[in-house]
């Protein structure tokens, strides 16, 4: 049994804090939680909401229908149309200056209650948080705990006032009660895509992160910043994205694992240096956190519109990998794999997320283990000192296990490390020789693409593996694919790709490909207008989807509309 609540209001009204409060509350009680955010590109005003699904069933995706709306603005009242039967809207008619007669609307005089207690209006979200908690009959101590945790860095006085607001809200005589089945699990933890990528990066030994702020990539930059001191990471805000990526390349060349992150427009600015990474074989990891384009687009909304761009970005032929994790855990694992392959193959690696994924919270078991692969491929100090005849871009010796000349750390041996953005010889110096270029391409391009591809894992398959209805997606649609697979009405097989480029070898993904080839209906689902993922899969594996489901209004898919979409197709 799951419930979905939506908290609505203007930017600056504490919607996010309240939403996070509920997410923490329910996860700490052992419920499954999934929450996502819908907000505008402004600091105050406008209309935002925060939506939480929680309960004893698995929860990974937005829902269309709601059980409870808590609103601090008038626009929130309009969502009554997507209330479940029995659903309610909690609002303060006085402060909204609007009163609704419909019995689904429950007027709670937040501001008057606060006024009576001598508290300011800003406590209305804490008050209403407590009030709603009471509707679900949550023990008050948990309500206290969550608020204490969230405001732990605030003064005692503020904390006291918050507790007072909780009491008022909790004690308010609300008639409505919603029956939440007891949770059968220990308290859970919450991760969003930001934390996922951040943990993956820190755990992979990222020691340098340079970026220029750009929604929705800034979260990871700031998360790493918040942990910089503890983990000895240099974070630097560059003057622009061109600088951010070039600094990252410099740091990597000097011997540390380095990363940069941005969104579409900034990624465009980084393309030239992406190509430089390819040419100089300097590993970097890049976060490309998508939002709807083109140009500035919808800065705070979501889309999967840069898949083909990420794959083809940068001038000239060079290898790269592109991973599109599906949830926070995959964010961590694939950021780690990005670091590993980037260093192993001396290439750029791109981690593709989007606003929906980075801003959404997913609950996990408390003892979640994130197993990272950590191997240092660099040639350092003594080892470098004794290395025979080091040349940065030595031609391949296929007798070696990894026949690429290792990345040596400049200054840690007497031998020199030199590289160049021009076509170069083995030592990294400019050449004009066509034969030398061909030999460089043999290692820098052909050998790498062939070998990298072998490292790519097949897609995951969910649901009824015998179903002849197959739904295929990638990246942040994992949640949708999992929930659709779990649906109880229709037997569906769903397939999720997160290692996107290069795509897994045909022989490594026979199972998934056979499902697609043998299905009656194959539906490709993606969050963009042009069907980029569909094009990619169709051309790589020479198959054809029978149908597709696409969304490109800047909002993520919700479970219900996708299920409707599938019904409409079959």
């Amino acid at each position: 049994m799951n419930y979905t609540i939506r908290i609505c209001g203007e930017a600056g009204q504490g919607i996010q804090t309240t939403g996070e409060g509920f997410s923490r509350l329910f996860s700490s009680l052992g419920y499954n939680v999934f929450s996502f955010q819908d907000y505008e590109s402004r600091i105050r005003g406008g209309h935002n909401f925060y939506q939480i699904t929680f309960g004893t069933d698995e929860a990974y995706a937005p829902k269309k229908f709601l059980d409870l709306i808590l609103t601090f603005d008038k626009r929130g009242l309009e969502y009554k149309d997507v209330l479940h039967r029995g659903g309610v809207v909690i609002y303060d008619a006085d402060s909204l200056r609007q009163s609704e007669s419909d019995e689904r609307f429950i007027n709670c005089p937040f501001r008057n209650m606060l006024k009576d207690a001598g508290l300011k209006n800003i406590f209305e979200n804490v008050l209403s948080f407590a009030l709603v908690s009471n509707i679900f009959s949550i023990d008050k101590k948990y309500v206290y705990k969550v608020i204490q945790d969230i405001f732990s860095d605030k003064s005692e006085d503020i904390l006291d006032q918050n507790m007072k607001a909780i009491d008022i809200g909790y004690n308010y005589d609300i008639k409505k009660k919603i029956d939440l089945p007891p949770s059968n699990s220990d308290s859970k933890i919450l991760l969003d895509g930001v934390k996922g990528v951040g943990i993956g990066a820190i755990g992979s030994g990222c020691k340098f992160y340079s970026a220029y702020p750009m929604t929705p990539s800034t979260g990871v930059f700031q998360y790493i910043g918040a942990n910089a001191e503890k983990y000895n990471i240099v974070v630097e805000q560059a003057e622009d994205e061109l600088s951010a990526i070039n600094m990252t390349l410099g740091a990597s060349f000097a011997g540390v694992r380095a990363m940069t992150g941005t969104s579409g427009g900034g990624f465009a600015l980084m393309n030239e240096a992406l190509s430089l990474s390819g040419m100089t074989e300097t590993p970097i990891v890049m976060l490309l956190s998508q939002r709807p384009g083109p140009a500035t687009g919808f800065p705070t909304r979501t889309e999967q519109g840069e898949l083909l761009y990420a794959i083809h970005a940068g001038h000239g032929d060079f290898p790269k990998v592109v991973f599109a994790p599906g949830d926070p855990l995959e964010c961590a694992l694939l950021t780690n794999k990005a670091f590993d392959l980037a260093e192993k193959y001396q290439i750029p690696a791109i981690v593709l997320t989007d606003q929906h994924l980075v801003d959404s919270l997913y609950s996990y078991e408390k003892d979640l283990k994130i197993d990272l692969k950590n191997q240092d491929y660099r040639l350092r100090s003594a080892e470098f000192e004794s290395y025979q005849d080091y040349k940065r871009h030595k031609f391949l010796d296929l007798n070696k296990e990894n026949p690429l000349s290792p990345l040596a750390v400049p200054g840690e041996g007497k031998q020199l490390v030199f590289t160049d953005s021009d076509e170069h010889d083995e030592e990294g110096h400019i050449t004009e020789d066509g034969e030398v270029r061909k030999k460089q391409l043999e290692r820098r391009y052909f050998w790498k693409i062939e070998n990298i591809r072998k490292e790519i894992s097949p897609p995951r398959i969910y649901g009824n593996k015998n179903s002849k209805i197959v739904l295929v997606g990638f990246g942040s649609n994992l949640g949708i694919l999992k929930e659709i697979a779990n649906n109880k009405k229709l037997s569906i097989c769903t397939i999720h790709y997160s290692e996107i480029f290069p795509l897994p070898l045909r022989e490594n993904s026979e199972e998934a490909l056979n499902k697609m080839l043998n299905a009656y209906v194959t539906i490709c689902i993606e969050n963009n207008a042009s069907g980029q993922f569909q094009k990619l899969i169709e051309s790589e594996y020479r198959l054809k989807f029978s149908n597709n489901i696409r969304k490109f209004d800047g909002r993520p898919f919700n479970y219900d509309e996708v299920l409707e979409g599938i019904y409409a197709i079959i």
Partner: protein, 280 residues
């Protein structure tokens, strides 16, 4: 090191006979040698242009990156391993044109990097277009109406931005250049040396004679940390062109300001930390 020639790597420069870059190259080797710096202790960084080929002719570590983007690369290197001596070579186009924004912010950031700009007042490698320092009105194939922008005064700009060390020298005054190079390299902080450089192929106006008639060496008669005086001095460019140190200060470097690397280099701290505390 037996001689400054030990910095030779045997590659012969792809410059035109008579190019001012030869003298700069030679002088740089001497400066390094006299400072007792070893090849592996230095990382040379450059962009693209004739001047940016410098690192290829020197036995040092090096990263020859993209046109205009040398300073961020150098900053990344220097902060990752502040024990390396990071030295950047660039052209006037590379540094003041394509790379202008990075220069502006390197001034502010003050990394411990030495920047030598081979200012030949022209785009050499791409065959003679105007650069940001080309005089107003000069006609080229890309400037059919003459260069319509006021030439950029790198020294005035650097001083206005509180650059930590600001000097000018000349590819025809190699003794002077060597001393300036040494001081710039030893200076802790971001050092800009604008080197007036002869381009025999594309700048027929600002040739050796032109400079010889105008340049003079000076020792500042003001406190080098006096920004107003330095700015005033930087305005002198025309019949008389002063060579020397215009400005310097002892602002803490970016690397010094960065607490993480107070005790050790970043590269020496490379590890795979435990992420358990983060999973919560």
């Amino acid at each position: 090191m037996q001689s400054y020639k030990d910095f030779d790597n045997g590659i012969s420069p792809a410059w035109c006979p008579g190019c001012g870059n030869f003298g700069i190259l030679d002088t740089f080797k001497k400066a390094l040698f006299e400072l007792g710096i070893e090849p592996h202790e230095v990382t040379l960084v450059s962009g693209i242009g004739q001047s940016s080929k410098m690192p290829h002719y020197l036995k040092c570590n090096g990263f020859n990156g993209l046109h205009g983007r040398s300073l961020p690369v150098a900053t990344g290197i220097s902060v990752a391993n502040h024990k390396q001596k990071v030295i950047v070579f660039g052209g006037d186009g590379d540094t003041y044109g394509e790379g202008g924004n990075h220069l502006l912010h390197a001034f502010r950031r003050n990394p411990n990097i030495t920047l030598f700009v081979h200012n030949n007042e022209v785009y050499g490698l791409t065959k003679g277009q105007a650069s940001p320092t080309t005089e107003f009105g000069r006609h080229t194939k890309a400037q059919p109406f003459g260069a319509l922008s006021e030439p950029l005064n790198p020294l005035a700009l650097a001083i206005a931005m509180d650059c930590s060390f600001v000097a000018r020298s000349f590819s025809g005054s190699l003794d002077h250049l060597k001393e300036i190079m040494k001081m710039a390299i030893m200076h802790e902080g971001f050092a800009l040396v604008d080197i007036l450089q002869i381009c025999v192929s594309f700048n027929k106006v600002n040739n050796f004679e032109w400079y010889k008639n105008r340049i003079y060496e000076f020792n500042a008669d003001y406190d080098l940390n006096d920004r107003i005086k330095a700015f005033e001095k930087s305005q002198e460019f025309g019949d008389k062109i002063p060579l020397g140190i215009f400005y310097s200060n002892s602002r803490p470097t970016f690397e010094k300001n960065m607490p993480i690397i107070k005790d050790k280099t970043l590269v020496s701290m490379q590890n795979f930390p435990d992420i358990k505390p983060l999973i919560c």
